[in-house]
Symmetry: D2
Subunit: 333 residues, 4 copies
């Protein structure tokens, strides 16, 4: 029973079917009918005009978004635990040609106007200092927590007051919406964010994320950077098909709900072991080496998360019985 990563999950059957249907010959790159329909489909979902670029990884989605928002000599405020800082191998610096990540500190990997201000207020506005140009937030966060609509709105207002753009890393955006039980727009786009990487791969897709640009005029630049980064696949219709399948009948939401429910079951059994509120599909627990060992002997797979802690991740296909078994095993420690 695997709780290592939602990245390891299989592809959802509906996504497979949509890909197979895309097999008929069509125009290469993103000139096919499916790719051409993405802008409308996502504009519809968010109730707001947007342009969408399919892209093969969340790394590329986030970094390409930042490259359209931030000049090489600018800075991006993010949490010190942000994926773009910790786990993307310098991709933000590569795509932006050297912009600087500026690290804010705070609980649950969340930015707030206060912890962003603590980073940017001391920065003198002169040519010797890199100036912040954008903030990047993750919905749900790297610690499994979710920004409420009001928190997003507050952050965007604050960012605007400082002249900063806002990017949302939505690797688990579906899980956030499922938790909030709100419209997808309300989980971010409605409040004025500039760009969103809407993660589909962990949530049932194969190799297509949606980079959503809420300033459609920036699409031309984004598409040049996308090609220049070697991301413009020649058989793009298979990527578009994945995204459209995820949108169809809100499959993304159903999948996220399944993952969240399994995580909630596990978290409920964890009691005071919980390191962060479990609001999406990740459960972070205090766990001694001996306890971890005992769980692994029962067949549960998961990552240690620093010393004395562990991370359990559920996915769209996590079996409720497996989650139940893990919950009971944790309770029994």
């Amino acid at each position: 029973m695997q709780f290592l990563s939602d990245n390891a999950a299989p592809v959802h059957p509906s996504v497979w079917e949509a890909m197979r249907r895309a097999d008929a010959t069509d125009a290469p790159y993103d000139n096919d009918a499916l790719s051409q329909s993405l802008d409308a489909a996502f504009s519809d979902l968010f109730g707001r005009e947007c342009a969408v670029v399919w892209i093969s990884t969340g790394t590329a989605a986030n970094c390409l978004a930042l490259a359209t928002l931030v000049p090489p000599y600018g800075g991006v405020v993010c949490h010190d635990d942000a994926h773009i800082e910790q786990d993307e191998a310098g991709a933000p610096e590569f795509f932006t040609h050297g912009a600087k990540l500026m690290l804010a500190h705070g609980p649950h990997a969340k930015l707030t106007p206060q912890n962003v201000a603590a980073v940017i207020d001391p920065i003198r506005d002169d040519v010797h200092r890199v100036q912040p140009t954008a903030i990047a937030i993750t919905q749900a966060t790297e610690q499994g927590c979710v920004y409420a609509p009001g928190e997003i709105a507050g952050l965007v207002d604050y960012a605007r007051s400082k002249g900063l753009k806002v990017h949302m890393d939505g690797a688990r955006f579906g899980n956030a919406v499922a938790h909030l039980n709100c419209t997808p727009a309300d989980a971010g786009p409605a409040h004025g964010i500039d760009t969103l990487s809407f993660g589909m791969i962990k949530n049932g897709g194969m190799g297509a994320e949606a980079l959503v640009l809420f300033n459609p005029a920036s699409a031309a630049e984004a598409k040049r950077r996308h090609k220049r980064a070697g991301q413009l696949q020649s058989k793009g219709r298979y990527l578009a098909a994945q995204l459209l399948a995820m949108l169809k009948d809100d499959l993304w939401l159903a999948n996220a709900r399944n993952a969240n429910d399994a995580a909630a079951r596990i978290a409920a059994a964890a009691g005071s072991r919980l390191l962060h509120p479990c609001e999406a599909n990740e459960v972070f627990l205090r766990l001694s080496v001996a306890e971890s060992e005992r769980l692994r002997q029962q067949g549960f797979g998961f990552y240690d998360w620093g010393v004395g802690a562990a991370r359990f991740v559920t996915a769209w296909n996590t079996d409720a019985d497996d989650a139940e078994r893990l919950a009971q095993a944790i309770a029994a420690l």
Copy 2:
């Protein structure tokens, strides 16, 4: 009847099956068993130790290879019609951090020691001039021609004598091998090239090319650059599956042969219209506007190629009857 691009072809059924079989949960990124087996599979194919990185596009494969061979302040000699110069949106400059493409001229988009020398001999070896560091050749070339083993050997020897590395863009490497009727090693790797992008997508794959590094010690650097470029997909097993399916029973070769045969049939009908020898799966013809129009009215799809010329591309799935119909239509012009 579509002869626009092999990029538009569907995915081969055997590739689909292999992808479906990869659906079982496995480790993310390239830690799965399939990805881990690639080095051995390609080393076996080429009879030479190599490391292999799956990657989503030929653009990225070529440019990542160049980034491991050429410093930012170096230069790459390529043909003025090379895909990396003409059609990759500045990706070589992006991945290499600004290396310069140095353009050689000659028939059939081929480099020779002579036309490379014409580029590099006049370059003074001082700090004011960008110094050449590598050459990049395309097998088959952008004009549908194939380097014979002896030509490759001669070029590599020449390059070595000048201290230059050699990259081979093999977007249509399978078609070249099919034409040469030699071992895959003999079409390039056996002669000492440093890197090869072995194209699978045009030839029956979906979204996975093989970047082959014949200096396996460079794999560590290549993998860091690969991740940093947003190319390390989290469900990499689906890409590895594609590559392995193409290798199995030499599917890549059978597919390439089918495409080449169809192209040969068309070329045979073209007579003096042929602009380049047809040695792979592309046919370049002299064709007036009126003649193009006539062919299109008969339902043939193809691209104009400059003024008074046109390109017809066949693919792994081109129907022999369709090729025959096109051949007859051309003969009847």
Copy 3:
């Protein structure tokens, strides 16, 4: 008697004096009174509002200008003999983060609407091709020729019609104005160019060029890039002093006239050996190896310029008698 390079000339006495006067303590970087006065001084010279950044080399001046005009994914059309292509070691690619130089061909190293069109008209406007964003011209050109005001106006009009910015490399701008006998504005700025690197070093300065931005709103970005490139010297007042000394009483023009007069004397003696009209301070001659040898034996220093040719450069301090001696020696060959 040295005709190798105006780069080897000493510093003009008036420049030395101005530098010594700047020795009194003042604010660091470009916060001193002299640096702060540059915008006004150059705006006055050109009769047009501009912002000026001192910078230590022409290389940096040209490339920083291009970085403000061209995105990393854009292109710059220049002559194939342009200094930015031939002699700046990839600096344009470094400062612009990989923009592509697109090479036009034509006599005397001059761009014309026709030879620019030959480069850009075939470029399809799609994401696969790097799109041209700017043109860069050199006044006087790398072959010692000068654009007439009407030629500049025509080129700028053409560039505007194509949506292209215009940079002027004015390493020998003073020599061009001296030849044209026009206002400095008329030699370029009056016709709508966007940026000018006004060369002072070859013409009597020590280590300060003037980067002139005719869109003063771009100064903030240029100054960030300038600092980021390690060009913001801490004792900037010594650079500002050089530029102001060159402007005072039109020293730049007097110096350029001296150099041009010496070159004209040499060119007049060269007759049919002249490879290009001598319009500035460089003389390019057909010269056999034996003839070159004979001149060198008489003590004349100069560079061979390819096979069977040589370049003679005069400077602000070239002695008229030396030029006369060289002229007679050439006539006597």
Copy 4:
């Protein structure tokens, strides 16, 4: 009485004289006799073979050094108060093509094996994380403190054990040597550092720093990057002359001693106000707004340094009486 910055100091008379002597025509760029003598002069100073590149700013010296040590996908551990992090506008990212600065924390802006280990030990060695490649230390530090020879030796040993290169930012290297009263080698080079930017500008020069490469084989690469960054001035003999004048009769050391003595006098009067030991030419004091105001009314110029603190910097030309007056004024607060 100005204690704002040693960057504002004038040029030392001996430096002026050496520059004037360099006025005779010589070869351009760094082909002149003075530039060609630098390697030997510095090798002699440090008792160790090295290559030296003159360069116009400390920013460029530090960042060019890092570019030769660190690949674009690597990391540099430095103190969070390091100049390269705080005050160089992203130049390290520009010159290295996006390497990441990794921030260590500790008193007096000093790195130690312990605080470096706290940064690098948690970094998993996988492709998702940027891996550290070098450490950068500042001698004297940004808080006016000096590494003892044993501290340097310990850090270099530690770095070597981790496979890391070591760069020393020596903007105030002379002040450090003056404080240590040791050989210049012992203040860093003797212990195995890879590169040193030896600051001359604050200490009596005009616009030339010495980038010292203790692996002379790296000089060829460094010189290409130097040219590519627009740092290769055409009249380089004036920069070489500055460096040689500073070396002559150890002018750099005499100048540093004067600055240190003045700072020591001020620090001695500061008592418990001192925020860091005064070991070079910077004095950091606790100072209320009212106290700062009182000092300024007496004609003392200095920068506030955060809230409730101020920085006083002395220079090679600081008058002992002025320092005495400031010392008394501080004592009288």
